[in-house]
Symmetry: C2
Subunit: 335 residues, 2 copies
């Protein structure tokens, strides 16, 4: 069989994962046994939220040295030892940073090509219809408990979670304010229909900037960032405000976490803060995906993908995510 | 009329309120007009949670210079301009650090002396049946959402809120672990039926001490302290754990808040943290007070009062609360 390449963990990173944390290995996959399939990867994703698993501090046990780096991916069955999948089937699942993978026939979703077109690309299944979009959908609606007319503040708003969250907020009648870094991202958010945008790189005092953009205060803060940005948001929360902890990208690479300081506001303003693991909602995924796909076709939900070609650049593109380059869903195309 | 004394705000404190933040004034109250009553105070309380109002960072606007220091109190009507109250009635309300007060006939609760005896003292209405006890009752049951068999961790457990919370936890079938400073307080908690006690002053690594006392993890952390103790608790929370923010006594006197660092645990462990203002439950107070009074008579709910005589010592006793002296409800007896 052909030779393929994959990225494995060479050492546990401290701080932003440098390229020497990853090893590019060539391998020749075995033929699938019964209950297995061989998948040729077409696309895989680069996920900031996976960072914890590289150093082992996450909800599941972390990766060991030599393990293939994890990610969502889309691929084609090129050999099958399972009645569930035929050669040529397209599937979505946790394929990893690899050009091919020998996979059990479980944990894979068969993709019907008829459901995709120029409006909803197949890659959406690992983006706006995948973990980032579902995190926005369930985080905002289940933990945020939005009421029409309320103000939603979103951090990392130009990223795939934030941009989806803000747009869903608009469909729910919320006043949506996004925080992003740089004029390009801010212009993008205005184009998506955000009511106000804060360029945090241009602001000296973020708490004041939020107060100016949200003069009546914030009902829901959808937090992808953490740290000082979380503090600035809390200082602007209304009584009974809800904080959805979706991501903490400013924390993932720190040796010592910064956390937040405004805990007394939880008493004075009766705040609630709650964390989200999207897999808790797995049974409701199909319904949410159908609703979001309909919104995409109706022009109410736009999404953006940043696709790099070739497996070789995955580590450098991954590091770039933590340098504020989180603009659209970051994918690697491997074919 | 007689001369009385009251404590007013002389300057806004920074840090632990020093005695020069308070001024002891003599005054002669006016006779009550229609709709007013003159109350002679018997007892008033010293509340750590009121600290924020001295510097103005609380849910209500803070005190101004010259305002009487606020607190709950019990007193006797000595002159009445209201049909609601007769001379000799005992009432409970926000009387302040004062020997007497001219008060509107609203916001006062008439106390029926027949309801009190050697088991339930009238002072309980500003203690275990007042704000501290109600905070424990509603915080644990509404925000903590306890399930029988779960583990409850309580900080400042020998204080009036914490001790009540732990005992209510026992009536609900919880495994109750208290944190307090010193052997006296720890022995007191063991006498109350706490399953385990952590003397935080004797522990080098609090997170490890919690792990040893709660080997299966913590389902509910009832937090009266904040800061590093909150971090140590979070590191031991189970998935779907609940943090009730009842008080943040370690934060009230800090110029710069310490806050907490473990925000990423909110994602990895799906934690929820929620703050409490007990007045939100005002309509349910009578029912809760009746239930707690019954528990006191049944010997299931003990409470402790530390009563000092004379208004003069209120500022020094108040400062002592922040030095870890929060053992029992701290009251001043003014008659």
């Amino acid at each position: 069989m052909t030779d393929y390449k994959k990225w494995t963990l060479a050492k546990h990173p401290s701080g932003v994962p440098s390229e020497d944390c990853f090893a590019l290995e060539s391998f020749t996959p075995d033929a699938p046994q019964e209950g297995q399939v061989l998948i040729k990867t077409h696309y895989f994703s680069l996920d900031p939220g996976m960072r914890g698993r590289l150093s082992g501090d996450s909800y599941a046990a972390g990766l060991k040295i030599g393990d293939t780096i994890e990610s969502a991916g889309i691929g084609e069955i090129i050999a099958s030892g399972s009645e569930r999948f035929a050669v040529g089937d397209m599937v979505m699942g946790g394929l990893g940073w690899t050009e091919a993978v020998l996979h059990p026939d479980r944990g894979l979703q068969k993709l019907d090509p008829a459901l995709f077109d120029d409006k909803v690309a197949m890659t959406a299944t690992i983006g706006v219809l995948g973990v980032p979009g579902l995190t926005a959908w369930f985080g905002l609606q289940d933990l945020g408990r939005p009421q029409s007319g309320e103000t939603l503040l979103v951090s990392s708003a130009a990223g795939p979670v934030g941009a989806t969250c803000g747009q869903i907020g608009k469909t729910l009648g919320l006043n949506v304010v996004g925080m992003a870094g740089g004029t390009d991202k801010c212009a993008y958010l205005q184009g998506l229909g955000f009511d106000a945008v804060i360029d945090y790189k241009a602001e000296g005092n973020l708490a004041k900037a939020i107060a100016a953009a949200c003069p009546d205060g914030v009902d829901i803060y959808f937090d992808n960032v953490g740290g000082e940005m979380l503090d600035a948001a809390i200082l602007n929360m209304k009584p009974k405000g809800r904080i959805v902890v979706s991501g903490q990208v400013s924390e993932y690479n720190r040796e010592k976490p910064v956390g937040m300081r405004q805990t007394t506001r939880f008493i004075t303003h009766r705040l609630r803060m709650e964390g989200l693991v999207v897999y808790d909602y797995a049974k409701q995924f199909p319904e949410a995906q159908a609703a979001m796909a309909a919104q995409i076709r109706d022009g109410k939900l736009a999404y953006k993908e940043d696709i790099s070609e070739g497996i070789k650049d995955a580590p450098s593109e991954y590091a770039a995510l933590f340098a504020g380059a989180n603009f659209g869903r970051r994918l690697i195309k491997t074919i």
